[in-house]
Point group: C2
């Protein structure tokens, strides 16, 4: 005789990635037991996200404004656009503070397996930004996976007709990485792209 409220919450939770019906019930119980320390903070955080966050119409970033903080920032170089698969990739790249330009979020990667086609991604938006002019460089910063690289190749073809420089992230030994633990593909790329010392 679980109450209707509990059933509704368990159902809502079971729609989250990684939570099935059984673990959703476990989460409900945890939330009930830790009402002050877990349920309330989660509720407030969800409210804030629901009320304040919007998707940027220009680049697809998620922020408190539309256009987003990056798109309206006058100090950022509009001539360079870094294309990423999803928002967390933008977060990761921007933490480095090394890229001075703007971003464009595809919202995924091409995948025959998952049935993701070009029209499912925000590719037209990217083409429109490039076609509008004023863009010198497009960084194709997809993941170094098969699907990511397929997506990068597809974008390269679509952007061929525009006078922009296409670049990609360098492959190589990660900082702190031990050679012995690296896969052969990365090692080969690092060797091929070796640079003079000093």
């Amino acid at each position: 005789m679980a109450s209707q409220e509990i059933d509704a919450l368990a159902q809502a939770l079971s729609k989250l990635p990684g939570l099935g019906p059984r673990s959703a019930r476990r989460v409900v119980l945890h939330l009930m037991k830790k009402r002050e320390t877990v349920l309330r903070p989660l509720l407030r955080a969800l409210e804030q996200v629901e009320q304040r966050l919007v998707v940027c119409d220009i680049c697809g970033n998620i922020d408190t404004g539309n256009p987003c903080g990056i798109c309206v920032d006058p100090r950022r170089d509009t001539r360079s656009i870094c294309v990423v698969e999803d928002v967390p990739d933008l977060w990761a790249l921007d933490r480095s503070r090394l890229f001075p330009g703007k971003y464009h979020i595809l919202g995924g990667r091409l995948s025959a397996l998952d049935g993701v086609r070009p029209e499912d991604l925000n590719i037209d938006g990217l083409i429109a930004r490039v076609a509008a002019g004023g863009v010198d460089e497009v960084v194709l910063a997809m993941n170094a996976t098969l699907e990511g690289q397929t997506t990068a190749h597809y974008l390269a073809e679509r952007l061929e007709e525009y006078p922009v420089r296409l670049t990609q992230l360098a492959h190589g030994v990660p900082v702190g990485g031990e050679l012995d633990y690296l896969d052969d593909g990365t090692l080969a790329q690092a060797l091929r792209a070796r640079r003079p010392v000093g």
Copy 2:
């Protein structure tokens, strides 16, 4: 440059059982993308639970009223109390509609490994209910695990001095269970407790 709202939500989510920091971020992104179909329903369900559900002071059940619907139900037999480890056990037992009495939720099981001692469970509440009189039977419906059975034995000792009948759930072949797939312990119990046919 993830916004503060996203960080706060990811942190709140990472406190749920089964979600680490990385999967919490994945959930945040999913919530952002499915604002209408996932985020809003989850928010409403959490609000309902936060505003409407309370813990019953008598039995520890979670319901919209305190005392809970079962404790105040005049059709239920107050002479019989079924003791369970946690609220989902009550839900599971009550779905059978075969137990006509009241419940008592311990809020866990004794566990040397997890450092759960008798004073961490709602055992005093149970003793007080039995000591108040009017109770004929206490069903010790702990899980059939080592810790569950340890808890049942402890409760049996504590309740020894009161004039109540202590019972436990029958062990045996689950309905629909194939003998070949059952563990030997269950089979032995089922054989020992065999009953005349018809």
